[in-house]
Amino acid sequence: MKSAFSLRQITWAAALLLASLSAQAQVKIAYVDPLSGGGASIGEHGLKHLQFLIEGINAKGGVIGGQKLEAVAYDNKGSPQESLVQVQKAIDAGVRFITQGNGSGAAIAISEFVAKFNDRNPGKEVLYFNYAAVDPALTNEKCSYWHFRWDANADIKMAALTNFMRDQKAIKKVYIIGQDYSFGQAVRAAANTMLKQKRPDVQIVGDELHPLLKITDFSPYIAKIKASGADSVITGNWGNDMALLLKAAADAGLQVNWYTYYAGGAGAPTAIKQTGLDHRVYQISEWHTNVPAPEMEAFADSFLKKYGGNSQQGWWYLRMKNQMDMFVVALNTAKSAEPKKVAAVLADMKHKNSLGAEVFMRASDHSLFQDMYLSSFGSGTKHDEEGTGWGWKTTAVIKAADTVIPTTCKMNVPS
C-alpha cells in the first residue's frame, strides 16, 4: 500500500498512473477484507496469499496471452456497510472481479450489492469470488449467478464431520456450542439434524450459542459442558472464540474430543498446544499442511519463507489457490476478461487442483466441491503450526463426490 499525505497530489498522480497503465492491459481483482481493526490479522494474511498467487501467475506469463493480473486491496474494516463502499470504489477504479471471505455478513452484503449493480448496469457486470464465507444461505436462498464460492459451506462440512462421527462408536454424548449469528446457527441446525439422522443413539446433552467475539472467559461454558457429561463437543467457533474456549478447557482439565471447523485459524493451534490435548482436536477443512502432495508442500514452504514472519504463520487457503487457478483457466478459455464470459466458463468447470485431485463447480448454485480432510492436531507430524511443534494429521479423507448435498438455489441466469 502506498503511503502519502496530500490527497489531491495523490489523486492526480494516480490518475496519471492509471492513464499510463491502461495502455498495458491489466486484469484487476479487488481484495475486500478487514485490513484494520479486529479481523485485520486474518485479512492481512489473506492478502499476502493473493499477492503471492498473483506473483506466481504473472511470472508464468500472465493471462490471455500476456496480460498481467493485479490485486487491489480495499479495507472493509470487517463491516458489511463499509464493504459496499469499498466495492463501489473498486468498480470505479475499473475492477470487474471482487474477492472476499472474512465474515458472512459482509459476504451477503457484497453478493446482494453485486446482483443489484449488475441488474441496474447491464454491460458493466462484476463477479464476486467468495473464498471463505460459508453461510449456507449464499448458495441457497440468497444465491446469485454472479457469486461463486470456493469453500464448502457449513452444511457440507457438517455432513462430512457427522459421517466420520457416525462410525465412532465411543461417542455417546455430544455438546454443541457455537457463536450466536447466522453461521453459528447454521452449524447448530445442521449438527442437530444430521446427528439425529446418522446416530439416533447419540444424546445431544447441550446446545448453546454465545455472543460473537465478546466473551473473554469461557470457564462458565466449560463448567456447563463438564456438568452435562459430554464426551464430544461440536463447534464452529473461530478466531478468539476458538482460542479462548480451548484455553478455558485446558484450565479446567476438560477431557473431551473436539470436532471443529476452524481449529487451524490464527492463535488456535497455540491454544490447543496449551491444552495438551494430543490428537483429540479435529478440524474439517479442504487441506492442511501435512497432506502428502509434493507440489503443494513446496508451494506452502516457499510462502512460509517469504511471509512467515515472527508468528510463523504459513499457507492457510488451498481454496484461494483453487480460486485463482480456476480463474486463470477460465480467462484463458474465454479468451476474454469480460465477466459474463468468464462466469459462463466457471459455472460448471472441472479442474485438477494442486493436490492432483478433481474439483468441480456445480452450475446450479456455483459451489465448488472438493475432497475434505478430517484432521487432528498433535505431535509427530512433518510440518508444525505456529512454532508449537505440533501439526495436523489426516484422520479421514472424504471424497468430493461424497460431499455433495442438494441446494434450494434458484438463480436468474442472464441471457
Binding site: 502519502a4 490527497l7 484494520s36 455478513g105 450489492f113 449469528y181 455472543p211 512467515g308 514472519g309 515472527n310
Partner: protein, 422 residues
C-alpha cells in the same frame, strides 16, 4: 468581500448551499465521489442532530447511534413492507418513517435519560446504547441477527420515471433531505425553545428560576434530536440498502461525537465541517496509510487539547476580521506559521508511517517510500532526519506561535474597534 457579507440576506447562505449541492455532481462525477457525497449528506444530518444535544443543550450522549440505527431499521422494514405489498408510497417519503421511529424511541428512552443531567446523563446514554446493541442478537426478527436487514430502494412507487437505482438519483434525494433538515434544525436554534436549550446548557438553575422545567426542555430537545437522527438513519438505509446491528453500537456513537467535536460544537456550521472532514478521512485515508485510525485519534486529541472550539471555531474566529477587513494583517503571520506547521506535519507523518512500516510490515523489508521519495526505514540517517524535522518544528512553534497569536489578537482588536465605531 466584507461588503458582500454585510449585504447578504437571511436566505443567501441557503441558496448558495443549494446551488453548490446541485452543481457538485457535475464537478465530481465519478461513482465513488457520488458515494462519498451521499455519505457526507446523511453524516451532516446525523452530526447536526447530535449537536442539538451537545452544543445546544449541553448533553453529552454516548449512545446517540441508537436513534440513528433504529430509524434505519424501521425504514428498511417499511421499504420491505411497501415493496412486498406494492403500496403507492414514493421513496422520498421514506426517511420520514425513520424520523418518526427515531422520535418514538427518543420519547421512550428520553424520559428516563433526561431525568438526570451531566455525567449521569452520559452514563445512562452509554448504558442504553450498549443495551440496545446487545439486544440486537436477541431480537432477531427486528434486527435480522448478524446479517442485518436488507432491502431494495427500487421497489417503491416510481414517479416521473425515477426509480432511484442510479447513485446520482440517490445523491439528490439525500442532498434534498439534508438541506431540508439543516434548515429545520437551524430554525429550531432560532426559536425560543432553542434559546432555552442554550439557557439550560449555560445555567440550569437560572433557567428554572425563569420558570422553565429544565427536564422538560432537555426532554423535548432530546426528542427533536432523535427525530433528525432517525431521518439520517433512514437516508443511510436507503443508500446502503442494508442495515446491520453495528449501526446502533458504540462505533457510530463514537464517530458522531468525533465529527461534532472536531467540527466545533459552539457553531451551527461546526458539525457540518466535522461530518464532511471525517467522512472524507474515513473513506479515503485507509487507502493511503494503514495507520489511519491513529491519525484520526491523534487529530481528535489535538483538537480537544488545543482547539476546543473545533475547526469550525477556528475558522469562525475570523468572522470579525473579515467583516472589518483587517484579515490582511494576519496573512504574513499565517504564512510564517506554515513553517512550523509543515515541519511538524511532515515529521509527524513520517514518524508514524516509518514506525508503522517497521512494526507492521516487517515482512516487506525496510525499504519504503513516502511522496515518491524512497528511503530505508531502518537507516539511522532517516531517523535522524525525522527527529530533526520534529525538533525543528517544535522549536519553530515555540518562536513563531506567540507571533501568530499576537497578530491575530491585534487584528481582532482592530476589527472590533472598527465595527463598534459609529
Amino acid at each position: 468581500m466584507s461588503a458582500v457579507i454585510q449585504r447578504g440576506g437571511v436566505l443567501t447562505p441557503w441558496l448558495v448551499a443549494a446551488a453548490v449541492v446541485i452543481v457538485l455532481p457535475y464537478i465530481f462525477s465519478s461513482g465513488s465521489s457520488l458515494t462519498m457525497m451521499s455519505l457526507m449528506g446523511f453524516a451532516i444530518v446525523f452530526a447536526l442532530s447530535y449537536n442539538m444535544l451537545l452544543g445546544q443543550t449541553g448533553m453529552l450522549s454516548f449512545g446517540h447511534a441508537v436513534y440513528y440505527g433504529l430509524g434505519g431499521f424501521m425504514t428498511a422494514h417499511a421499504l420491505n413492507v411497501i415493496g412486498a405489498g406494492k403500496w403507492p408510497i414514493p421513496l422520498p417519503l421514506l426517511p420520514l418513517v425513520g424520523g418518526l421511529a427515531g422520535l418514538s424511541f427518543a420519547i421512550l428512552f428520553g424520559w428516563v435519560s433526561t431525568k438526570r443531567a451531566g455525567t449521569a446523563f452520559s452514563m445512562i446514554s452509554l448504558g442504553i446504547g450498549e443495551l440496545v446493541a446487545a439486544c440486537s442478537l436477541i431480537l432477531r426478527g427486528f434486527f435480522g441477527g448478524e446479517g442485518g436487514i436488507s432491502t431494495s430502494r427500487t421497489s417503491t412507487l416510481r414517479l416521473f420515471g425515477i426509480n432511484f437505482g442510479p447513485q446520482i438519483q440517490v445523491y439528490y434525494l439525500i442532498a434534498a433531505w439534508c438541506l431540508l433538515c439543516m434548515a429545520a434544525m437551524y430554525a429550531f436554534t432560532r426559536t425560543p425553545l432553542g434559546r432555552m436549550c442554550n439557557a439550560v446548557r449555560d445555567n440550569p438553575e437560572r433557567a428554572e428560576f425563569v420558570g422553565y422545567s429544565t427536564q422538560m426542555v432537555r426532554f423535548i430537545a432530546f426528542c427533536v434530536s432523535g427525530f433528525f437522527a432517525g431521518v439520517a438513519g433512514g437516508l443511510a438505509a436507503i443508500h446502503y440498502e442494508i442495515v446491520t446491528a453495528s449501526v446502533v453500537g458504540a462505533g457510530p456513537s463514537g464517530s458522531v461525537l468525533l465529527m461534532a467535536y472536531i467540527g466545533g460544537i459552539s457553531f451551527f456550521i461546526g458539525p457540518v465541517i466535522g461530518a464532511v472532514l471525517m467522512t472524507a478521512l474515513q473513506i479515503s485515508l485507509s487507502d493511503y496509510t494503514g495507520a489511519w485510525m491513529l491519525y484520526v485519534g491523534l487529530m481528535f486529541v489535538l483538537v480537544v487539547m488545543f482547539a476546543p472550539a473545533g475547526l469550525g471555531g477556528l475558522l469562525l474566529m475570523h468572522r470579525p476580521l473579515l467583516a472589518a477587513g483587517t484579515w490582511r494583517r494576519v496573512l504574513p503571520a499565517y504564512a510564517l506559521a506554515l513553517v512550523p506547521a509543515s515541519l511538524l506535519f511532515v515529521g509527524g507523518v513520517l514518524l508514524v508511517e516509518t514506525s508503522h512500516h517497521l512494526l507492521v510490515k516487517a515482512s516487506e523489508g525496510s525499504a519504503m517510500r513516502v511522496l515518491w521519495i524512497p528511503y530505508d526505514a531502518k537507516s539511522p540517517a532517516a531517523w535522524a532526519g525525522i527527529l530533526a524535522l520534529l525538533g525543528a518544528g517544535l522549536l519553530a512553534l515555540k518562536h513563531i506561535g506567540p507571533k501568530v497569536a499576537d497578530a491575530f489578537h491585534g487584528a481582532r482588536l482592530e476589527a472590533t474597534s472598527k465595527l463598534s465605531a459609529p
